[in-house]
Amino acid sequence: MTVYAKPLSPDIVSQTGNTMVLSMGPQHPSTHGVLQIMLEIEGENVVKAEPEIGYLHTGIEKTAEGLFWTQAQTVIERMDYLAPSSNALCYALGVEKLLGITDRIPERAQIIRVLSMELTRIASHCVWLGTHGIDLGALSIFFYTFDLRENILDLQESSGGARMHPNYLRVGGLNGDLPEGYLVNLDALIEKFPGRMRELRGLLQANPIFQDRTIDLGVLTPQEAISWGVTGPSLRASGIAYDVRRAFPYTGYENYDFDVPTRDEGDAYARFLVRLDEMEESMRIVEQARRRLETPGPVMIDDPKVALPPKETIALSMEALIHHFKLVSEGFRVPPGDVYQAIESPRGELGYYIVSNGENRPYRIRTRPPSLYNLQALKGIAPGNLIADLVVMIGSLDPVFGEVDR
Protein backbone atom coordinates (compact mmCIF):
# COMPACT_ATOMS: atom_id res chain seq x y z
CA MET A 1 0.00 0.00 0.00
CA THR A 2 1.13 3.52 -0.64
CA VAL A 3 1.11 6.32 1.86
CA TYR A 4 1.39 9.66 0.21
CA ALA A 5 3.58 12.27 1.77
CA LYS A 6 1.95 15.47 2.85
CA PRO A 7 3.14 18.46 0.85
CA LEU A 8 5.14 21.17 2.58
CA SER A 9 3.14 23.67 4.50
CA PRO A 10 2.30 26.82 2.49
CA ASP A 11 5.53 28.74 2.49
CA ILE A 12 4.57 32.38 2.58
CA VAL A 13 1.72 33.34 4.85
CA SER A 14 -1.30 31.55 6.21
CA GLN A 15 -3.40 33.13 8.89
CA THR A 16 -4.49 30.81 11.70
CA GLY A 17 -5.90 32.72 14.61
CA ASN A 18 -3.40 35.28 15.80
CA THR A 19 -0.37 33.46 14.53
CA MET A 20 1.27 33.61 11.16
CA VAL A 21 3.37 31.06 9.30
CA LEU A 22 6.63 32.38 7.93
CA SER A 23 9.31 30.59 5.99
CA MET A 24 12.85 31.50 7.04
CA GLY A 25 15.46 30.36 4.54
CA PRO A 26 16.63 28.35 2.69
CA GLN A 27 18.54 31.34 1.32
CA HIS A 28 18.76 33.27 4.57
CA PRO A 29 22.39 34.27 5.17
CA SER A 30 22.37 33.23 8.82
CA THR A 31 21.00 29.74 8.26
CA HIS A 32 24.50 28.40 7.56
CA GLY A 33 23.80 27.25 4.08
CA VAL A 34 20.55 25.65 3.13
CA LEU A 35 18.30 25.39 6.15
CA GLN A 36 14.66 26.34 5.86
CA ILE A 37 12.68 26.87 9.04
CA MET A 38 8.90 27.01 8.96
CA LEU A 39 7.98 29.35 11.76
CA GLU A 40 4.65 29.90 13.41
CA ILE A 41 4.98 33.35 14.89
CA GLU A 42 2.87 35.64 16.99
CA GLY A 43 4.26 39.09 16.48
CA GLU A 44 8.01 38.61 16.91
CA ASN A 45 7.67 35.54 19.12
CA VAL A 46 8.20 32.05 17.84
CA VAL A 47 5.34 29.72 18.72
CA LYS A 48 6.61 26.73 16.77
CA ALA A 49 9.67 26.11 14.64
CA GLU A 50 10.01 23.19 12.22
CA PRO A 51 13.30 22.97 10.34
CA GLU A 52 12.88 21.67 6.80
CA ILE A 53 16.06 19.95 5.68
CA GLY A 54 17.09 18.06 2.58
CA TYR A 55 18.12 20.93 0.32
CA LEU A 56 21.66 19.57 0.21
CA HIS A 57 20.72 15.90 -0.10
CA THR A 58 23.18 14.39 -2.56
CA GLY A 59 22.64 10.70 -1.84
CA ILE A 60 26.14 10.06 -0.50
CA GLU A 61 25.05 6.83 1.22
CA LYS A 62 23.60 5.51 -2.04
CA THR A 63 26.59 6.63 -4.09
CA ALA A 64 28.98 4.88 -1.70
CA GLU A 65 27.20 1.56 -2.30
CA GLY A 66 28.41 1.66 -5.90
CA LEU A 67 32.07 2.39 -5.16
CA PHE A 68 34.98 0.26 -3.97
CA TRP A 69 35.74 0.40 -0.25
CA THR A 70 38.61 2.82 -0.87
CA GLN A 71 36.71 4.95 -3.36
CA ALA A 72 33.73 5.30 -1.01
CA GLN A 73 35.94 7.24 1.37
CA THR A 74 36.16 10.04 -1.17
CA VAL A 75 32.44 10.75 -1.06
CA ILE A 76 32.16 10.07 2.64
CA GLU A 77 34.72 12.78 3.36
CA ARG A 78 32.33 15.26 1.78
CA MET A 79 29.64 14.79 4.42
CA ASP A 80 31.01 17.03 7.13
CA TYR A 81 32.92 19.40 4.91
CA LEU A 82 34.32 21.44 7.78
CA ALA A 83 35.98 18.43 9.38
CA PRO A 84 36.57 15.99 6.51
CA SER A 85 39.24 13.99 8.34
CA SER A 86 36.82 12.97 11.09
CA ASN A 87 34.54 11.30 8.53
CA ALA A 88 37.49 9.57 6.94
CA LEU A 89 38.83 8.31 10.27
CA CYS A 90 35.48 6.98 11.47
CA TYR A 91 34.90 5.11 8.23
CA ALA A 92 38.45 3.75 8.15
CA LEU A 93 38.20 2.51 11.75
CA GLY A 94 34.92 0.75 11.01
CA VAL A 95 36.27 -0.99 7.91
CA GLU A 96 39.44 -1.95 9.78
CA LYS A 97 37.30 -3.59 12.47
CA LEU A 98 35.47 -5.63 9.84
CA LEU A 99 38.79 -6.59 8.23
CA GLY A 100 40.18 -7.53 11.65
CA ILE A 101 43.32 -5.40 11.25
CA THR A 102 42.65 -2.87 14.01
CA ASP A 103 45.63 -4.04 16.11
CA ARG A 104 48.06 -3.89 13.20
CA ILE A 105 47.82 -0.19 12.34
CA PRO A 106 51.34 1.25 12.77
CA GLU A 107 52.00 3.43 15.79
CA ARG A 108 53.11 6.43 13.77
CA ALA A 109 49.96 6.31 11.64
CA GLN A 110 47.85 6.44 14.79
CA ILE A 111 49.74 9.46 16.12
CA ILE A 112 49.30 11.33 12.86
CA ARG A 113 45.63 10.37 12.83
CA VAL A 114 45.17 11.92 16.26
CA LEU A 115 47.10 14.98 15.11
CA SER A 116 44.90 15.40 12.03
CA MET A 117 41.74 14.89 14.06
CA GLU A 118 42.60 17.59 16.56
CA LEU A 119 43.81 20.05 13.92
CA THR A 120 40.60 19.51 12.00
CA ARG A 121 38.62 20.07 15.19
CA ILE A 122 40.32 23.42 15.75
CA ALA A 123 39.74 24.39 12.11
CA SER A 124 36.07 23.41 12.34
CA HIS A 125 35.55 25.36 15.57
CA CYS A 126 37.26 28.33 13.88
CA VAL A 127 34.58 28.37 11.17
CA TRP A 128 31.86 28.00 13.78
CA LEU A 129 33.27 30.85 15.87
CA GLY A 130 33.71 33.18 12.91
CA THR A 131 30.23 32.59 11.50
CA HIS A 132 28.64 32.66 14.95
CA GLY A 133 30.21 36.09 15.46
CA ILE A 134 28.93 37.29 12.09
CA ASP A 135 25.41 36.09 12.95
CA LEU A 136 25.54 38.34 16.00
CA GLY A 137 27.02 41.31 14.18
CA ALA A 138 30.58 40.87 15.49
CA LEU A 139 32.33 40.94 12.14
CA SER A 140 36.00 41.24 13.07
CA ILE A 141 36.36 37.85 14.73
CA PHE A 142 35.72 36.17 11.38
CA PHE A 143 39.08 37.39 10.04
CA TYR A 144 41.00 36.22 13.10
CA THR A 145 39.49 32.75 13.02
CA PHE A 146 39.84 32.29 9.28
CA ASP A 147 43.48 33.30 9.49
CA LEU A 148 44.05 30.57 12.07
CA ARG A 149 42.07 28.10 9.99
CA GLU A 150 44.14 28.95 6.93
CA ASN A 151 47.31 27.87 8.76
CA ILE A 152 45.70 24.51 9.49
CA LEU A 153 44.45 24.13 5.92
CA ASP A 154 47.98 24.82 4.71
CA LEU A 155 49.19 21.95 6.89
CA GLN A 156 46.42 19.74 5.50
CA GLU A 157 47.37 20.68 1.98
CA SER A 158 51.02 19.83 2.51
CA SER A 159 50.22 16.41 4.01
CA GLY A 160 47.23 15.29 1.96
CA GLY A 161 47.47 17.38 -1.19
CA ALA A 162 44.19 19.27 -0.85
CA ARG A 163 43.02 22.05 1.42
CA MET A 164 39.46 20.95 2.01
CA HIS A 165 39.24 17.22 1.39
CA PRO A 166 42.73 15.80 1.82
CA ASN A 167 41.64 12.11 1.78
CA TYR A 168 44.78 11.56 3.84
CA LEU A 169 43.49 9.01 6.36
CA ARG A 170 42.95 5.67 4.63
CA VAL A 171 41.82 2.20 5.54
CA GLY A 172 44.98 0.64 6.98
CA GLY A 173 46.86 3.82 7.79
CA LEU A 174 47.68 6.98 5.89
CA ASN A 175 48.15 8.02 2.32
CA GLY A 176 51.81 8.78 3.01
CA ASP A 177 54.19 10.09 5.60
CA LEU A 178 54.28 13.75 6.60
CA PRO A 179 56.19 15.86 4.07
CA GLU A 180 59.43 17.64 4.77
CA GLY A 181 58.90 20.94 6.52
CA TYR A 182 55.55 19.92 8.00
CA LEU A 183 56.83 19.86 11.55
CA VAL A 184 58.40 23.30 11.18
CA ASN A 185 55.06 24.75 10.14
CA LEU A 186 53.30 22.80 12.88
CA ASP A 187 55.69 24.21 15.48
CA ALA A 188 54.99 27.71 14.18
CA LEU A 189 51.24 27.06 14.57
CA ILE A 190 51.69 25.71 18.11
CA GLU A 191 53.65 28.84 18.99
CA LYS A 192 51.10 31.18 17.43
CA PHE A 193 48.02 29.50 18.90
CA PRO A 194 47.94 30.73 22.54
CA GLY A 195 48.25 34.39 21.52
CA ARG A 196 45.58 33.98 18.86
CA MET A 197 43.30 32.26 21.37
CA ARG A 198 43.71 35.19 23.78
CA GLU A 199 42.67 37.54 20.98
CA LEU A 200 39.61 35.43 20.15
CA ARG A 201 38.53 35.31 23.76
CA GLY A 202 39.23 39.02 24.15
CA LEU A 203 36.98 39.86 21.21
CA LEU A 204 33.86 38.05 22.40
CA GLN A 205 34.02 36.38 25.77
CA ALA A 206 33.56 39.45 27.94
CA ASN A 207 31.74 41.46 25.30
CA PRO A 208 28.54 42.75 26.99
CA ILE A 209 26.53 42.72 23.75
CA PHE A 210 27.56 39.15 23.02
CA GLN A 211 26.76 38.09 26.58
CA ASP A 212 23.39 39.84 26.47
CA ARG A 213 22.43 37.93 23.38
CA THR A 214 23.66 34.49 24.40
CA ILE A 215 23.30 34.08 28.18
CA ASP A 216 20.13 32.19 29.20
CA LEU A 217 19.21 31.68 25.59
CA GLY A 218 18.23 28.30 24.18
CA VAL A 219 18.75 26.41 27.42
CA LEU A 220 19.02 22.62 27.05
CA THR A 221 18.62 20.78 30.35
CA PRO A 222 20.46 17.45 30.64
CA GLN A 223 17.15 15.58 30.25
CA GLU A 224 16.21 17.50 27.12
CA ALA A 225 19.65 17.14 25.62
CA ILE A 226 19.60 13.38 26.15
CA SER A 227 16.11 12.88 24.77
CA TRP A 228 16.91 14.92 21.64
CA GLY A 229 20.03 12.81 21.10
CA VAL A 230 22.30 15.84 21.38
CA THR A 231 26.02 14.97 21.59
CA GLY A 232 29.33 16.75 21.48
CA PRO A 233 30.02 20.25 22.83
CA SER A 234 26.28 21.00 22.98
CA LEU A 235 25.74 18.07 25.35
CA ARG A 236 28.79 18.93 27.43
CA ALA A 237 27.51 22.49 27.82
CA SER A 238 24.55 20.91 29.64
CA GLY A 239 26.84 19.29 32.18
CA ILE A 240 27.19 15.74 30.85
CA ALA A 241 30.84 14.96 30.17
CA TYR A 242 30.18 12.35 27.50
CA ASP A 243 33.06 12.39 25.05
CA VAL A 244 33.61 9.41 22.75
CA ARG A 245 37.36 9.96 22.98
CA ARG A 246 37.12 9.16 26.70
CA ALA A 247 34.17 6.76 26.83
CA PHE A 248 35.18 4.58 23.87
CA PRO A 249 38.83 5.45 23.12
CA TYR A 250 39.94 4.84 19.56
CA THR A 251 43.20 5.18 17.64
CA GLY A 252 45.19 5.64 20.85
CA TYR A 253 43.32 8.51 22.54
CA GLU A 254 43.69 6.71 25.87
CA ASN A 255 47.40 7.62 25.78
CA TYR A 256 46.84 11.37 25.68
CA ASP A 257 46.34 13.69 28.58
CA PHE A 258 43.44 16.09 28.08
CA ASP A 259 40.40 17.39 29.90
CA VAL A 260 36.79 17.32 28.77
CA PRO A 261 35.47 20.86 29.29
CA THR A 262 31.89 21.05 30.58
CA ARG A 263 29.54 23.81 31.73
CA ASP A 264 26.35 23.51 33.73
CA GLU A 265 24.20 26.27 32.28
CA GLY A 266 23.25 24.64 28.96
CA ASP A 267 22.65 27.97 27.21
CA ALA A 268 24.18 29.39 24.05
CA TYR A 269 26.94 31.12 26.02
CA ALA A 270 27.89 27.84 27.72
CA ARG A 271 28.13 26.13 24.33
CA PHE A 272 30.36 29.00 23.19
CA LEU A 273 32.67 28.61 26.21
CA VAL A 274 32.85 24.82 25.90
CA ARG A 275 33.95 25.06 22.27
CA LEU A 276 36.59 27.66 23.08
CA ASP A 277 37.94 25.46 25.90
CA GLU A 278 37.87 22.50 23.54
CA MET A 279 40.09 24.31 21.06
CA GLU A 280 42.70 24.73 23.78
CA GLU A 281 42.41 21.10 24.86
CA SER A 282 42.82 20.05 21.22
CA MET A 283 46.01 22.06 21.03
CA ARG A 284 47.27 20.24 24.13
CA ILE A 285 46.74 16.95 22.33
CA VAL A 286 48.44 18.33 19.21
CA GLU A 287 51.50 19.26 21.30
CA GLN A 288 51.67 15.77 22.80
CA ALA A 289 51.31 14.16 19.39
CA ARG A 290 54.00 16.49 18.03
CA ARG A 291 56.49 15.24 20.64
CA ARG A 292 55.78 11.62 19.66
CA LEU A 293 56.44 12.27 15.99
CA GLU A 294 60.22 12.31 16.35
CA THR A 295 60.61 8.57 15.77
CA PRO A 296 60.16 7.57 12.14
CA GLY A 297 58.26 4.46 11.18
CA PRO A 298 55.79 3.01 8.70
CA VAL A 299 52.46 4.79 8.25
CA MET A 300 50.59 2.09 6.35
CA ILE A 301 49.75 -1.46 7.35
CA ASP A 302 52.05 -4.14 5.97
CA ASP A 303 49.33 -6.14 4.29
CA PRO A 304 49.38 -6.35 0.50
CA LYS A 305 45.70 -7.32 0.46
CA VAL A 306 44.72 -3.90 1.80
CA ALA A 307 47.57 -1.47 1.17
CA LEU A 308 49.15 -0.64 -2.16
CA PRO A 309 52.70 -2.03 -2.36
CA PRO A 310 55.55 0.52 -2.38
CA LYS A 311 56.01 1.94 -5.85
CA GLU A 312 59.67 0.91 -6.12
CA THR A 313 58.84 -2.78 -5.60
CA ILE A 314 56.44 -2.94 -8.52
CA ALA A 315 59.18 -3.14 -11.13
CA LEU A 316 61.03 -5.85 -9.17
CA SER A 317 58.42 -8.15 -7.71
CA MET A 318 55.76 -10.09 -9.56
CA GLU A 319 53.57 -10.32 -6.42
CA ALA A 320 53.72 -6.58 -5.88
CA LEU A 321 52.63 -5.97 -9.44
CA ILE A 322 49.71 -8.39 -9.11
CA HIS A 323 48.62 -6.89 -5.79
CA HIS A 324 48.82 -3.40 -7.24
CA PHE A 325 46.75 -4.42 -10.24
CA LYS A 326 44.12 -6.22 -8.18
CA LEU A 327 43.76 -3.39 -5.63
CA VAL A 328 43.38 -0.74 -8.30
CA SER A 329 41.13 -2.70 -10.66
CA GLU A 330 38.80 -4.42 -8.21
CA GLY A 331 39.68 -3.22 -4.73
CA PHE A 332 39.84 -5.41 -1.64
CA ARG A 333 37.06 -7.55 -0.21
CA VAL A 334 35.75 -7.21 3.31
CA PRO A 335 34.41 -10.24 5.21
CA PRO A 336 30.62 -10.22 5.67
CA GLY A 337 29.31 -8.63 8.83
CA ASP A 338 28.14 -5.38 10.33
CA VAL A 339 29.82 -2.94 12.69
CA TYR A 340 29.02 0.34 14.40
CA GLN A 341 31.97 2.67 14.81
CA ALA A 342 31.72 6.01 16.59
CA ILE A 343 34.19 8.84 17.02
CA GLU A 344 34.03 12.30 18.55
CA SER A 345 33.73 14.66 15.62
CA PRO A 346 33.80 18.43 16.26
CA ARG A 347 29.99 18.31 16.40
CA GLY A 348 29.45 15.22 18.52
CA GLU A 349 29.22 11.48 18.17
CA LEU A 350 29.71 10.64 14.52
CA GLY A 351 28.86 7.02 13.84
CA TYR A 352 28.95 4.73 10.86
CA TYR A 353 26.93 1.55 10.76
CA ILE A 354 28.73 -0.39 8.04
CA VAL A 355 27.39 -3.59 6.49
CA SER A 356 29.51 -5.75 4.21
CA ASN A 357 28.22 -8.76 2.32
CA GLY A 358 31.70 -9.97 1.37
CA GLU A 359 32.03 -8.00 -1.84
CA ASN A 360 34.49 -5.34 -2.87
CA ARG A 361 31.87 -2.62 -2.33
CA PRO A 362 30.12 -1.59 0.88
CA TYR A 363 26.62 -3.05 1.09
CA ARG A 364 25.28 -0.24 3.22
CA ILE A 365 26.79 2.67 5.11
CA ARG A 366 24.40 4.33 7.51
CA THR A 367 25.68 7.55 9.03
CA ARG A 368 24.77 8.76 12.48
CA PRO A 369 25.17 12.46 11.76
CA PRO A 370 25.64 14.48 14.96
CA SER A 371 24.44 17.66 13.26
CA LEU A 372 21.08 16.12 12.36
CA TYR A 373 20.22 15.30 15.96
CA ASN A 374 21.68 18.51 17.35
CA LEU A 375 19.70 20.58 14.87
CA GLN A 376 16.53 18.69 15.69
CA ALA A 377 16.79 20.04 19.25
CA LEU A 378 15.99 23.46 17.78
CA LYS A 379 12.35 22.35 17.76
CA GLY A 380 12.56 22.08 21.52
CA ILE A 381 14.44 25.27 22.36
CA ALA A 382 13.08 27.74 19.79
CA PRO A 383 9.47 28.23 20.99
CA GLY A 384 9.00 31.30 23.17
CA ASN A 385 11.98 33.17 21.79
CA LEU A 386 12.32 36.07 19.36
CA ILE A 387 13.03 35.44 15.69
CA ALA A 388 16.31 37.33 16.03
CA ASP A 389 17.43 34.96 18.77
CA LEU A 390 16.68 31.95 16.59
CA VAL A 391 19.75 32.86 14.58
CA VAL A 392 21.89 32.68 17.73
CA MET A 393 20.46 29.29 18.62
CA ILE A 394 21.17 27.82 15.18
CA GLY A 395 24.72 29.14 15.39
CA SER A 396 25.26 27.75 18.87
CA LEU A 397 24.21 24.25 17.75
CA ASP A 398 26.78 24.38 14.93
CA PRO A 399 25.03 22.36 12.22
CA VAL A 400 26.84 21.46 9.00
CA PHE A 401 24.41 20.77 6.21
CA GLY A 402 26.59 18.48 4.20
CA GLU A 403 26.17 16.12 7.11
CA VAL A 404 22.53 16.83 7.99
CA ASP A 405 21.36 16.15 4.44
CA ARG A 406 24.14 13.86 3.13
Binding site: M1, V3, A5, K6, P7, I53, G54, H57, K62, G66, L98, L99, G100, I101, R104, P222, I226, S227, W228, G229, T231, G239, I240, A241, Y242, D243, R246, A247, F248, V260, T262, D302, D303, P304, K305, V306, F332, R333, P335, P336, G337, D338, V339, Y340, G351, Y353, V355, S356, N357, G358, Y363, R364, R366, R368, L372, Q376, K379, G380, D405, R406
Partner: protein
Protein backbone atom coordinates in the same frame (compact mmCIF):
# COMPACT_ATOMS: atom_id res chain seq x y z
CA UNK B 1 53.55 -11.08 5.96
CA UNK B 2 50.45 -13.27 5.61
CA UNK B 3 47.15 -11.53 5.35
CA UNK B 4 44.42 -12.02 7.94
CA UNK B 5 41.86 -11.41 5.30
CA UNK B 6 39.46 -14.20 4.54
CA UNK B 7 39.69 -15.55 1.01
CA UNK B 8 37.03 -14.30 -1.40
CA UNK B 9 33.86 -16.12 -0.59
CA UNK B 10 31.76 -17.90 -3.12
CA UNK B 11 28.72 -15.80 -3.91
CA UNK B 12 27.41 -13.10 -1.68
CA UNK B 13 26.15 -13.15 1.90
CA UNK B 14 22.39 -12.65 2.00
CA UNK B 15 22.25 -11.93 5.74
CA UNK B 16 25.61 -10.40 6.76
CA UNK B 17 24.76 -9.59 10.42
CA UNK B 18 24.32 -13.31 11.08
CA UNK B 19 27.87 -13.96 9.83
CA UNK B 20 29.62 -11.12 11.63
CA UNK B 21 33.05 -11.68 13.11
CA UNK B 22 33.25 -11.16 16.86
CA UNK B 23 33.59 -7.40 17.17
CA UNK B 24 32.97 -5.92 20.58
CA UNK B 25 31.07 -2.76 19.66
CA UNK B 26 27.70 -3.21 21.37
CA UNK B 27 25.22 -5.65 22.88
CA UNK B 28 23.21 -6.96 19.98
CA UNK B 29 19.61 -8.08 20.14
CA UNK B 30 17.09 -9.09 17.53
CA UNK B 31 13.33 -8.85 17.99
CA UNK B 32 10.22 -9.50 15.93
CA UNK B 33 8.18 -6.46 14.89
CA UNK B 34 5.43 -7.59 17.25
CA UNK B 35 7.68 -7.29 20.29
CA UNK B 36 9.59 -4.22 19.08
CA UNK B 37 7.61 -1.59 20.92
CA UNK B 38 7.48 -3.54 24.21
CA UNK B 39 11.20 -4.30 24.08
CA UNK B 40 12.15 -0.68 23.41
CA UNK B 41 9.91 0.48 26.27
CA UNK B 42 11.60 -2.03 28.58
CA UNK B 43 15.05 -0.86 27.45
CA UNK B 44 14.12 2.78 28.02
CA UNK B 45 13.02 1.92 31.57
CA UNK B 46 16.25 -0.05 31.97
CA UNK B 47 18.27 3.15 31.54
CA UNK B 48 18.85 3.38 27.80
CA UNK B 49 17.85 7.03 27.79
CA UNK B 50 19.42 8.01 24.49
CA UNK B 51 18.30 6.84 21.07
CA UNK B 52 21.50 7.56 19.19
CA UNK B 53 20.29 6.58 15.80
CA UNK B 54 17.69 4.68 13.85
CA UNK B 55 18.63 3.40 10.43
CA UNK B 56 17.55 0.71 8.04
CA UNK B 57 19.20 -1.75 5.68
CA UNK B 58 17.59 -3.39 2.65
CA UNK B 59 18.56 -7.07 2.25
CA UNK B 60 16.80 -7.56 -1.03
CA UNK B 61 16.94 -11.37 -1.23
CA UNK B 62 16.27 -12.04 2.43
CA UNK B 63 12.96 -12.68 4.14
CA UNK B 64 12.04 -10.38 5.93
CA UNK B 65 13.47 -7.86 3.55
CA UNK B 66 14.47 -4.91 5.75
CA UNK B 67 16.35 -4.53 9.01
CA UNK B 68 15.55 -1.62 11.29
CA UNK B 69 18.61 -0.81 13.40
CA UNK B 70 18.17 1.05 16.69
CA UNK B 71 21.36 2.26 18.38
CA UNK B 72 20.84 2.92 22.08
CA UNK B 73 23.17 4.42 24.68
CA UNK B 74 22.85 3.96 28.43
CA UNK B 75 23.62 7.48 29.56
CA UNK B 76 22.01 8.83 32.73
CA UNK B 77 20.13 12.08 32.11
CA UNK B 78 21.84 14.10 34.80
CA UNK B 79 25.01 16.12 35.18
CA UNK B 80 28.03 13.84 35.27
CA UNK B 81 31.80 14.04 35.11
CA UNK B 82 33.98 11.96 32.80
CA UNK B 83 34.52 9.40 35.56
CA UNK B 84 30.80 9.19 36.31
CA UNK B 85 29.97 8.70 32.64
CA UNK B 86 32.65 6.00 32.33
CA UNK B 87 31.97 3.67 29.42
CA UNK B 88 28.21 3.69 28.90
CA UNK B 89 26.67 0.53 27.49
CA UNK B 90 25.74 0.48 23.85
CA UNK B 91 22.93 -1.66 22.54
CA UNK B 92 21.96 -2.40 19.00
CA UNK B 93 18.43 -3.63 18.42
CA UNK B 94 17.77 -5.21 15.05
CA UNK B 95 14.26 -5.81 13.82
CA UNK B 96 13.41 -7.59 10.59
CA UNK B 97 10.55 -5.92 8.73
CA UNK B 98 9.00 -7.14 5.52
CA UNK B 99 7.81 -5.02 2.67
CA UNK B 100 4.51 -3.30 3.44
CA UNK B 101 4.74 -4.19 7.12
CA UNK B 102 4.11 -1.31 9.53
CA UNK B 103 6.03 -0.72 12.74
CA UNK B 104 4.99 1.33 15.78
CA UNK B 105 6.65 4.69 16.30
CA UNK B 106 8.89 5.37 19.30
CA UNK B 107 8.58 9.14 18.98
CA UNK B 108 6.81 9.34 22.33
CA UNK B 109 9.68 7.51 24.06
CA UNK B 110 12.52 9.44 22.43
CA UNK B 111 11.78 12.72 20.67
CA UNK B 112 14.95 12.23 18.62
CA UNK B 113 13.16 9.42 16.75
CA UNK B 114 11.08 12.01 14.88
CA UNK B 115 13.47 12.83 12.06
CA UNK B 116 15.10 9.41 12.10
CA UNK B 117 11.76 7.70 11.42
CA UNK B 118 10.91 10.24 8.75
CA UNK B 119 14.21 9.50 7.05
CA UNK B 120 13.67 5.74 7.12
CA UNK B 121 10.18 6.29 5.70
CA UNK B 122 11.53 8.61 3.01
CA UNK B 123 14.45 6.48 1.85
CA UNK B 124 13.09 2.95 2.47
CA UNK B 125 9.31 3.30 2.51
CA UNK B 126 8.81 1.71 5.93
CA UNK B 127 5.72 3.21 7.57
CA UNK B 128 5.71 4.06 11.27
CA UNK B 129 2.28 3.81 12.86
CA UNK B 130 1.43 6.68 15.14
CA UNK B 131 4.10 9.10 13.92
CA UNK B 132 2.63 12.59 14.12
CA UNK B 133 4.18 14.03 10.97
CA UNK B 134 5.32 11.24 8.68
CA UNK B 135 6.36 12.92 5.46
CA UNK B 136 9.47 12.95 3.33
CA UNK B 137 12.47 14.68 4.85
CA UNK B 138 15.42 14.42 2.43
CA UNK B 139 13.76 13.96 -0.96
CA UNK B 140 11.30 16.44 -2.51
CA UNK B 141 7.74 15.83 -1.33
CA UNK B 142 6.54 14.73 -4.78
CA UNK B 143 9.35 12.23 -5.32
CA UNK B 144 8.41 8.74 -6.41
CA UNK B 145 10.09 5.68 -4.95
CA UNK B 146 12.47 5.19 -2.06
CA UNK B 147 16.07 5.74 -3.15
CA UNK B 148 18.00 3.64 -0.63
CA UNK B 149 16.15 0.46 -1.57
CA UNK B 150 18.43 -1.94 -3.38
CA UNK B 151 16.08 -2.25 -6.36
CA UNK B 152 16.12 1.52 -6.88
CA UNK B 153 18.52 2.35 -9.75
CA UNK B 154 21.79 3.97 -8.72
CA UNK B 155 21.36 6.78 -11.24
CA UNK B 156 17.74 7.43 -10.42
CA UNK B 157 14.63 6.72 -12.44
CA UNK B 158 14.88 6.80 -16.23
CA UNK B 159 13.90 10.22 -17.50
CA UNK B 160 13.52 11.89 -20.81
CA UNK B 161 16.69 13.72 -21.74
CA UNK B 162 16.62 17.48 -21.70
CA UNK B 163 16.24 18.89 -25.23
CA UNK B 164 19.58 19.59 -26.90
CA UNK B 165 20.36 21.99 -29.75
CA UNK B 166 19.75 20.43 -33.13
CA UNK B 167 23.43 20.31 -34.16
CA UNK B 168 24.11 18.03 -31.17
CA UNK B 169 21.82 15.33 -32.54
CA UNK B 170 24.18 14.17 -35.26
CA UNK B 171 23.37 10.75 -36.65
CA UNK B 172 26.49 9.86 -38.60
CA UNK B 173 26.92 6.68 -36.53
CA UNK B 174 24.23 4.05 -36.83
CA UNK B 175 23.80 2.28 -33.56
CA UNK B 176 24.69 -1.39 -33.63
CA UNK B 177 26.79 -1.30 -36.81
CA UNK B 178 30.52 -0.92 -36.25
CA UNK B 179 32.57 0.92 -38.90
CA UNK B 180 33.79 -2.40 -40.30
CA UNK B 181 30.21 -3.26 -41.09
CA UNK B 182 30.48 -6.48 -39.12
CA UNK B 183 27.58 -6.83 -36.69
CA UNK B 184 27.77 -8.46 -33.27
CA UNK B 185 25.68 -11.39 -34.43
CA UNK B 186 28.00 -12.01 -37.38
CA UNK B 187 31.01 -11.85 -35.06
CA UNK B 188 29.51 -14.36 -32.63
CA UNK B 189 28.63 -16.62 -35.53
CA UNK B 190 32.21 -16.42 -36.76
CA UNK B 191 33.62 -17.31 -33.33
CA UNK B 192 31.21 -20.22 -33.03
CA UNK B 193 32.23 -21.57 -36.40
CA UNK B 194 35.92 -21.23 -35.55
CA UNK B 195 35.40 -23.18 -32.30
CA UNK B 196 33.52 -25.97 -34.01
CA UNK B 197 36.03 -26.49 -36.80
Amino acid sequence: MPSTQTPPIAGVAIDPPSLRPSIDDAFIERVEPGQLRARLEALKNDGYTMLLDLGAVDYLQRKPRFDLVYHLLKLAARKATVAEVGTPARLRLLCGVDEGERVPTVMDLWVSADWAEREVYDLFGIVFDGHADLRRIQMPHDWEGHPLRKDYPMRGPARERAPRPSFANKTNVVAGTPPSGRTLEALQEEIKRARES
